[in-house]
Symmetry: C2
Subunit: 243 residues, 2 copies
């Protein structure tokens, strides 16, 4: 059992459970006071904690031992046009597993879904982070227009744009050509692709690179996961092999 | 509209539609005789075809023009322990998009799902191949025990085994170290991991390599898609950039 908390974590720190956490521990995991839970908050590393109280609508833990020091997770920001609910849930869950540092829904000219439940995405991101043993939960931002995001983009962060047309580069070469410690973003277009004016706009910024992902047509969520995998393999932490 | 057919394809070849294809063209796409459909069969390339008849329960096309020559698609075989229905559907769809050449469900010591609807996986594979513009549909095999698959494995096909423990190698280095034109398989373990006797068995064959996929815990379907992406990027066709 591994839970994310907003509380500070330190030795013998009391931690109140949220209502969903109480429900999860009582009704799903059938836990009892004395059982051990693992906690992380994105700031203080990973801690073992003991369930102190677990009543119907409230519960508390006390942290007992630090298991891992906090590390910076330097994954790319992932920008994506919203898609239907099931593949979107999948995209969020898999992006967390594959190490995205932030998730940014983007409105594009061909975006079909005007609204998006950001709270749902945040809950999915927390659950995925709990399960994949990350020490952070990626921030999920509110939806924003592509033009606004590009206008305010930090120029020291290279933005890889996955496109099906235009003058695309090989993603691996683009990643390898950048200096070490480059910060990255990955932008996945909508199902209908970018409009030609969007491609012109993207091309007008020096921090962007249009890349291709092979000869088959990938759905948006597949492209997102494939691009994150390329990033991890080429410049990410996949060389720190789990043993 | 792009459809897979079992029929041979050649100039002015009549092609009968299956009942689901008739339903799809009439009720989903609202097609009429005279409309154009794209056809492929995995053998004769990709063809334009014209709808000749489209009645309630039957219909026919006639192929009119070859659009693409058949090419060999040399992707890896993907072996996976069955998982729950929704992530399994996702795994099949994404594996087709990412170029797997065959799909093989595997029974392992820690496999939870003893039964699997192979017909459902085949239907998903066809639909995904139609949508991602592949010229082949990967073969979906019946479920088989891991020990039987290893015993009958073609020794000239290198099998990458994605594992969370054991002495794992970096997947990229493993892929790059092999000679050009190596044939590949990718084996993804069950949610509970391989048993220690399975790891010993895998290790006893010279055609296997245990590889890791980074420090986070990946779900089985994420591991499958990530490994296929690594394959495409390192030794596959992602350098043939779509333009």
């Amino acid at each position: 059992m591994r839970l994310h908390t907003e509380h500070d974590l330190a030795f013998e720190q009391p931690v109140a459970l949220t209502t969903p956490q109480v429900h999860y521990l009582r009704n799903v995991m059938r836990s009892s006071p004395g059982d051990t839970v693992i906690l992380f908050n994105g700031r203080d590393g990973e801690w073992s904690a003991r369930i102190e109280t677990l009543a119907k609508n409230a519960g508390s833990l006390i942290s007992t031992e630090k298991r891992r020091d906090q590390i910076q997770e330097l994954g790319p920001w992932l920008l994506f046009a919203p898609i239907k609910r099931t593949p979107l849930d999948f995209l969020v869950q898999k992006s967390v597993e594959l190490g995205a540092a932030a998730l940014q829904p983007v409105i594009t000219d061909h975006t079909n879904t005007a609204r998006i439940k950001v709270d749902r995405l945040r809950a999915n991101a927390i659950e995925a982070a709990e399960q994949c043993e990350r020490l952070t939960v990626p921030e999920v931002h509110d939806m924003e227009k592509l033009s606004v995001l590009l206008e305010n983009w930090p120029v020291d962060r290279h933005l890889i744009v996955c496109a099906e047309c235009g003058k695309v580069q090989c993603i691996e070469e683009t990643l390898r050509a950048a200096p070490d410690n480059t910060k990255w973003g990955i932008l996945i277009g909508p199902e209908g692709g970018f409009s030609s004016s969007e491609l012109d706009l993207i091309d007008s910024y020096s921090f962007t690179s249009l890349v291709g992902l092979g000869p088959r047509i990938l759905r948006a969520e597949t492209a997102a996961l494939a691009a994150l995998t390329c990033w991890q393999m080429t410049v990410g932490d996949w060389r720190n092999i789990r043993s």
